[in-house]
Amino acid sequence: MIKVILTICYILLAPLIGGLLDGLDRKISARMQRRVGPPLLQPFYDVSKLLRKKPTAVANSQNFLLISYMVLMILTGAFFFAGTDLLMCFFVMSTAATFLYFAGVVTSSPYASIGAQRELLAMMVYEPAVLFSCVGFYLATGSFNVSEIAMSNKSAIIYLPGFFVAFVFILTIKMRKSPFDLATSHHPNQEIVKGITTDIGTRNLAIFTITEWYENVFLMAVVGLFIANKNLISIIGAVIVILLVYFLEILIDNTSARVKWQTMLKTTWIVTILFAGVNLIILMIVK
């Protein structure tokens, strides 16, 4: 029963929480740059404006592809909060990203195509760390099921500090934050205009933005999964860690410049192998 309630809560509340986190992000970023910054609810104003504009699409298939992207991303989070297999969640998320790739490619804009290729590349870069994390959760708790991981006796992070570092590292890629915002950036005037979202305007851009909110909430929930255990008080700890990680991402975003994809590939894989890999070996020897 509680799983059903959690799933429904996710589907209904994730855009709200995601939008607020986005607004907080923009506000904190502005304060870091000594600006006043937009109102907290600015992301909602943006989306409601986009929805009121006359719908345009450079290709009809774009509508279908972006809606599929959104539905699959909602499904990813719904699976997670329903307490099912963690591997399944990440596989569905990869499928969603593939739809986004096609939505970028069908526009035939050179900028969107480059952005789409970079999106695929980013998938290749972060996927090992994601799969490692799933394996880590299994080794630490003996289950791939989210509900069982969350209800384990001890927080998973006790066994998986290296996996946690690797996962937070790839969050920068997943959340499209500088220095790894290669596919598309939240900051205007990228070297490839708006990357994969070039030529995605009006209603479609609103769908893309809302999907990003769903995705962020899901990713933050995975961060929380590292902390959560049988004790209900651990949820408070999880929320604090989530907010700290989110702040860290904003800080990284505001203090670093975009890198080339080669650098992204090298650093991410080195961090993944060094932290998650070593953690994995120790875990296999100890357990």
């Binding site: 502005a30 719908p55 305007g201 851009l205």
Partner: protein
């Protein structure tokens, strides 16, 4: 329609400007003026923009580009001409390659004069543009053009 006015996204195009007005437009986004507190964002993408901000006059080479950028923007849209060159052609008016102000190519809604236009004037012009945008959005909605 209150919510629309809180999120004007700009597309900034530099015609044959001397760059004076461009620097002032960018100055609006710096910490001193911080146009983002009004929800203003400088997008590089015409498909995502609401307000086309043009500096500098129109010449025979950029006329087609300006027309195309305007056509790519989704309705409702507003054009703001920044600086005297964008308004009338300015000091370059008599040049053999200059056709005149932006209104020789696309309909202009707000004229912001000045050489260079001050950031305060530019923000004022954008706010005026937002009012026109709201009227157009209301008209579009009553027509049922937005499903």
């Amino acid at each position: 329609m209150g919510k629309v006015s809180k999120s004007p996204w700009l597309l900034h195009y530099d015609g044959s400007s001397c760059n004076g007005c461009d620097i002032e437009v960018l100055a609006c986004l710096t910490p001193v003026y911080d146009a983002e507190r009004l929800g203003v964002m400088n997008t590089g993408d015409p498909m995502q923009a609401d307000i086309l901000v043009i500096t500098g006059g129109i010449n025979s080479q950029n006329q087609a580009t300006v027309k195309q950028l305007y056509d790519q923007m989704a309705d409702p849209k507003v054009v703001v001409a920044i600086g005297v060159c964008a308004c009338t052609g300015g000091v370059f008016k008599e040049c053999y390659n200059i056709l005149g102000g932006v209104d020789t190519t696309i309909p202009v809604d707000v004229y912001v004069p000045g050489c260079a236009a001050r950031p305060q004037a530019i923000i004022d012009g954008i706010i005026k543009g937002v009012e026109i945008y709201n009227e157009r959005a209301a008209k579009l909605e009553s027509k049922g053009g937005n499903q």
